[in-house]
Symmetry: C2
Subunit: 214 residues, 2 copies
């Protein structure tokens, strides 16, 4: 698959690297420096290159949207027409201080994004684990018990693409239903962040949903 | 320990039974019928009896508050003075149709409860798993990998009591910090409910936080 990364920071940089190592063709875009994008492409050791948001979006089978919420309109403007595109969004709708959600309860970041690009196929994914755990999970992908990663969305094709990429990254995809479930998933992401960054034991935290008595 | 159950429905009935089987002294209270309370006490096969909310609260080392949000003021009024009491609350602040949170984002059910009984030691616990999984987890408590159960609160003594009871019930307690984290935990509970009741595989769902690379 061709995967465009919109926002090559902690999440986007690592996930793009993982997608490239899993055999996908990746375009890294939207970082403060073009050099960083080129370094990411080089060090990914896969089929990856640096580009503009528009280049990342062109011909992409899936886009990973991993920008700070405050940069959302800017990156969407630069990416161009996203009609029909599958967008996996891991952007949480945080305030500029990253202390709380600016959209919650009666809506969610994922739903707001979907309203901004109504012809795109938005899936909320990869936002419920800290970036610090991603490489550990990818490296452990051949072990039996994988961590879960929940995703939600209203477009079945988009969700299928998301599930495949979640599996490529070493997680077990967990379909949580329609996009409005992001209203629960985004606060859950903050709970995971609290445990990862304020708890004891370090930020390499993942989670697993388990059915008991089976 | 003496444990008073305020609200002996699906959660309270099962958790009271589990606490009694774990060796605690339990008083079941606040059900539509006194007969149901007596049946719960009998079938728990432990040191359990039926009582009024006031009897459940008297001399209790810990109270489990497991009523529907709409009954909160009523049960608190009937329980009497709760100063100094450790209250484990698993009540989510749901509307009467159980479709959404009536308190969220800028506050939480646990924080509202704490304002109602400011001299009690409120801990939010046992609200992030469905009642259907409780007996399965309790029966599997001697296995190595226990499911997690997160809790949060502002009173260290209360949290210590909560952690012990969580362990008695077969879960691994996960301290998520202060009571305001219930703002994330309560939507997380709805996410778990969505997966349990709308997902495939049945409602016997638990979760486990895992630190990777250790």
């Amino acid at each position: 698959m061709r995967i465009g990364i919109l926002g090559s920071g902690l999440m986007g940089g690592k996930l793009g690297t993982i997608f490239a190592r899993a055999g996908h063709e990746v375009v890294f875009s939207y970082s403060r420096s073009h050099e960083k994008l080129e370094e990411l492409a080089r060090s990914s050791q896969g089929k990856a290159r640096a580009g503009t948001p528009r280049q990342a979006a062109q011909e992409a089978d899936a886009l990973l949207l991993a920008v700070h919420w405050s940069r959302m309109d800017d990156v969407l403007g630069k990416a161009g027409d996203l009609s029909g595109k599958v967008i996996l969004s891991c952007s949480l709708p945080m305030n500029t201080g990253d202390t709380e959600l600016v959209v919650a309860h009666t809506s969610s970041g994922a739903e707001e994004l979907s309203r901004k690009v109504p012809k795109a196929r938005v899936v909320s994914a990869f936002n419920t684990v800290p970036s610090e755990v991603l490489f550990d999970v990818f490296e452990a992908r051949h072990k039996k018990a994988r961590p879960s990663l929940m995703y939600c969305g209203d477009d079945e094709d988009g969700k299928g693409t998301a599930a495949g990429l979640i599996r490529d990254a070493g997680f077990e995809p967990v379909d949580a239903g329609p996009l409005r479930i992001a209203r629960y998933a985004e606060p859950f992401a903050l709970l995971v962040a609290q445990l990862a960054y304020e708890g004891t034991g370090g930020p390499e935290l993942a989670y697993r949903f388990e059915r008991m008595g089976k």
